[in-house]
Amino acid sequence: MNRRSFLDFFKEKKTKNESSHDFLSKAATLEKGSEKQEAFSIPMRPPIIAGLEPYTGTWGVKQISHLLRRTTFGAKYADVVHFKGKTVAQSVEELLTPSTTPLDLPVNDYNDSDKQDPTVPFGKTFIGAEWDEDIEGTRIWSLKGWWLRRMINQERTIEEKLLLFWHNHLPIQFFDIFRVNWNFEYMQTLRTHSMGDFKAMIKAITIDTAMLFSLNGQQNSKEEPDENYSRELQELFCIGKGPNGKYTEEDVQAIARVLTGWRYLWNDDIVDFVDWAHDTDDKQLSSFYNNAIITGRSGAAGANELDDLLDVIFDNNEVALFICRKIYRFFVYHSIDAETEQNVIEPLAEVFRNSNYQIKPVLDKLFKSAHFFDASNQGAVLKSAVDYQVGLYREFNIPLPPDGELSDTYEITSFMNFYLEEFQQSIGDPPNVAGWPAYYQIPLYDKNWVTTDTLPKRLRLTDIMIINGIPSANYAYPLDVVETARQIPNVEDPNALIANTVEWLYGIEVSAGVKLVLKSILLSGQLTDSYWTVAWVEYISDPTNPMKLETVKSRLVKFYYYLIHLEEFQLS
């Protein structure tokens, strides 16, 4: 058995129209239940008094890690140190600043003895290359690997987390689209707008090539209106199906007609408006939209109906409320009680509307707020699969193979992508058009990430990562436990190492009993603190001595193994 054939095995598993989601099922759901039932199934928290006023409390490792876990993937210790020298406002502003590093393009890192891209040489980008049925699936795996690398190597910015947020909110399935160029373009559409104008983002995604195919806009015509996109534009993208989302079936049908005419033109390889497919009649909307009429336009002017429509939709108060709730659930906490609705969601929605649907001011307000840093919100989210996996890479300084080692990097990211699929979060391929259930399904929400199936799998992956590292032909990097520990202040003092690590790694306190176990690991069951101190100091003074390294390393491996295996590590 070799690794390569393993990788091929699961690559080939995915072919067009053979999505992996046969095996997935939509998770537990419910809207609101009786109070009694909620008391059991939904952890009700005491109301948080703090609202959107700026946070002015302590700015320490605990708070910074909280901010980083929610806005990036895992709290990388170097980032914690960096932000310790800044204020809350400076830190949030830095995180909300897009990277200025030009985007690298994904390249052919998959050619090997059994598989050759017919048009793209090894090391060159496949973006822009001609579609090829035999290699397209491999290219998509490579794109997903590139995406993972960007998450792992991200700079100190929310960009990659936001991209995942928008991908979940406006999803397509890469293997359903099965054209790597369109998948990449779709990602670019989201990336371009991720902190910008939400209305512009909706317009762009409505006529994004992949989305046109994903939700049948391509087939939508005046003779045969297809209501698939129209329905989701309202139900999932802008309005929501909450108690106040009172658009009607007639609205679904009328808006489908507004959207007729937007086509991907195969010959020109662009999306354009074609008036011959457009329904030029007036479209009457329901009282939910103030009985607005989208006036039918003929010729090229028909394209403007999309802008007219978005004006009508974005006039509705529900849009800002819906998006702010979604942001809150993704970044803060899954449950929104009456106080939160009033003290956080409504004022945030106000910020959103007043800024003409600019996304950044909303995030800025939220992440600087006393509410966001309230103790009740810390550790209150279960890590998504990506948070867990990419977070491990970042928190424990696991490198990817050196630049240029393309095949090895591809192997490792493919392995990670395989695991993400096992954890129910295959990036690029959410289970359906609503995204991942953990981000929307009441009452379980993020509890969907941690099931009797996925929890053991998470820990199995961890075991591989701790001892051996995810392997490729030439590289395997386990958790760098010594380097991770070295960053911690007063690492030579076992009590400080334990206290500082727990404060950084967990959003929740642990008991004296747990700390005792951790200490007994560092002291190999002895009772004298200085045993660890001596071991560490000896190692530092003679770092190339393999015996001394092994002494600290073997203890640290057990130390981190224990920390990661504790249920507390599943909290963000």
Binding site: D22, V381, D453, L455, G513
Partner: protein
């Protein structure tokens, strides 16, 4: 080479147990003898297998109303199946099956599969998500329910769950869903009433020992949840693994997701698992486009999916019949809605309403319930099929006739009184003591305090009245004492037990009273 083997090898190679010094690696040990006395009650509980067709299955191309064929050919010309390709059914000249469903047609002709026509609910909702929730909860169209229909049944049957579970009477998961998540169907009023797995052959010990107490904060609640999942994975993972290893499959299954899932279900049942409800699923039924291949309507996405369903169910039936437990198992299919009467421009169909359901097994009443839907020749995009049967009538009937729940208790589960349907042979629904046992499962009927003890301890037991027995066994299964034997009044009793003559070690207290029995370990120390 198997992917699983690879992963297993790599994990095995990666973890050197000595390196971890046994940290978190301790397996919970239970003596084989204890297992034996816990399992001496042989149950022959009925099993229900739900097959979920995710995405909205096109009913009109699945069970085809042949007397409406000419009209169908007009209004759904983009997807219509050629008349001569449709599979005929014995004794039902006006109904045919999709050409990919040969195996299910054979099951139908053998009387092992029945069809319920036009199943839906009043005021259909065309959103996948909302309609799925409705099918899983059993809610009205405008009603929001926080628990699944099966979750409510399980809560009725096992009211103590999850407190005190697993236990001697109910050692196995209440329900098992194949796939990574547990769906709303199994959400009880207070807890998820089942377990999700993808492969029972994997077991991973998750419990580390020392824990911090969870604070009463949102983070603390999440922590409790993760711990519960970890505990359940451990407790139930082991029994699933054992059942899987004991069980077997007969006949062949094709290598597709649905067949693989059904194969696991058959093997678990064969291995003696007492889980009563299983759910398997197949996605991809949202056939807005390319439902059929242009110019060849018997090929395409829908044909591929129906073939998987047909082959999967047939292999499963064949397997369980050969193994001799088919009479205990019934299956049903469901999907959140059917599809629109008219076809669309993309060789597909849009979201619709009512659609047929299948019920399969040797105990089904064969045939077709209901009549063919009437297709209007002027069908347009607003035309949807009216329902003939409420899906909750099917659920109610299965709970009543298959799980033998008395009529009086039905409303507490289904929340309304639904029409009763002749679906299944309920003749072996004799009242059993099992229900009573399940009701008390998880209750602590016998306990000793203190334990560990040095020479004597106070034993408390609860009896339903009548003959009651308390025995003490040692770890080799030898009876070492019978402190209580006689007729007792209903209620809790207490006595002082002196064990002076016994060596230190672990013992088992066993209470027996009517159908109830319970075993608890106690520890004697020096």
């Amino acid at each position: 080479m198997q992917r699983r083997n690879f992963l297993k090898n790599i994990s095995a190679g990666a973890i050197a147990p000595s390196m971890l010094g046994g940290l978190g690696m301790g397996m919970q040990s239970t003596s084989p003898w204890q297992k034996m006395i816990q399992n001496f009650l042989v149950e022959t509980d009925h099993v229900l297998v739900m097959v979920r067709l995710d995405g909205g299955n096109d009913g009109l191309n699945t069970v085809i109303p042949l007397d409406q064929y000419d009209k169908l050919a007009v209004v759904r010309d983009k997807v219509i199946i050629p008349r001569n390709q449709i599979l005929d059914l014995d004794g039902h000249p006006t109904v045919g099956f999709h050409p990919s469903m040969t195996e299910m047609r054979n099951l139908f002709n053998e009387g092992k599969l029945s069809v319920i026509q036009s199943v839906g609910y009043p005021n259909p909702d065309y959103s996948h998500f909302r309609s799925t929730d409705i099918w899983m909860t059993g809610a009205d169209s405008d009603e929001i329910l926080s628990s699944g229909w099966m979750g409510r049944y399980m809560n009725y049957e096992y009211p103590n769950f999850p407190n005190g579970f697993p236990n001697a009477d109910v050692p196995d998961p209440l329900s098992v869903e194949l796939g990574g998540t547990l769906s709303l169907t199994f959400q009880g009023p207070f807890a998820g009433m089942g377990m999700s797995i993808t492969n029972p052959n994997e077991f991973y010990n998750l419990v580390q020992g020392v824990q911090s107490s969870a604070p009463n904060t949102p983070a603390g609640k999440q922590l409790e949840y993760v711990r519960r999942i970890a505990q359940q994975s451990n407790d139930y993972g082991q029994v699933l693994l054992e059942a899987y290893n004991r069980g077997t499959n007969m006949g062949t299954y094709e290598d597709t997701g649905l067949s693989e899932q059904l194969k696991i279900v058959a093997r678990l049942i064969s291995g003696g698992i007492k889980t009563r409800v299983f759910m398997v699923s197949l996605g991809g039924f949202d056939t807005h486009d390319n439902q059929v291949v242009e110019g060849n309507h018997t090929a395409g996405e829908h044909a591929r999916l129906l073939s998987q369903v047909s082959k999967g169910i047939s292999s499963f039936m064949n397997d369980i019949e050969q193994q001799g437990f088919a009479d205990r198992v019934t299956g049903m299919t469901f999907s959140e809605f059917g599809r629109r009467v008219i076809s669309n421009f993309s060789n597909g169909t849009d979201h619709g309403s009512a659609a047929p359901m299948f019920v399969f097994g040797t105990q089904v009443k064969p045939g077709i319930l209901g009549t063919n839907p009437i297709i209007p020749l002027d069908a347009d995009e607003d035309t949807n099929l009216p329902m003939q049967y409420d899906f909750r009538s099917v659920y109610s009937t299965l709970i009543k006739d298959w799980f033998c729940v008395p009529q009086n208790d039905m409303e507490g589960i289904m929340l309304q009184d639904f029409q009763y349907l002749p679906l299944i042979d309920s003749s072996d629904c004799v009242s059993t003591a099992t229900h009573e046992l399940n009701q008390r499962a998880g209750d602590s009927l016998i306990s000793a305090s203190p334990s560990p003890f040095t020479s004597s301890t106070n034993i408390k037991f609860e009896t339903a009245g009548g003959r009651t027995l308390v025995q003490v066994f040692n770890t080799s299964g030898q009876l070492v004492a019978t402190p209580i034997k006689g007729t007792y009044q209903k209620g809790t009793h207490e006595f002082y037990w002196n064990s002076e003559n016994l060596p230190a070690g672990t013992y088992y207290l066993r209470l027996q009273n009517g159908v109830f029995q319970q075993v608890k370990p106690i520890v004697k120390v020096r």
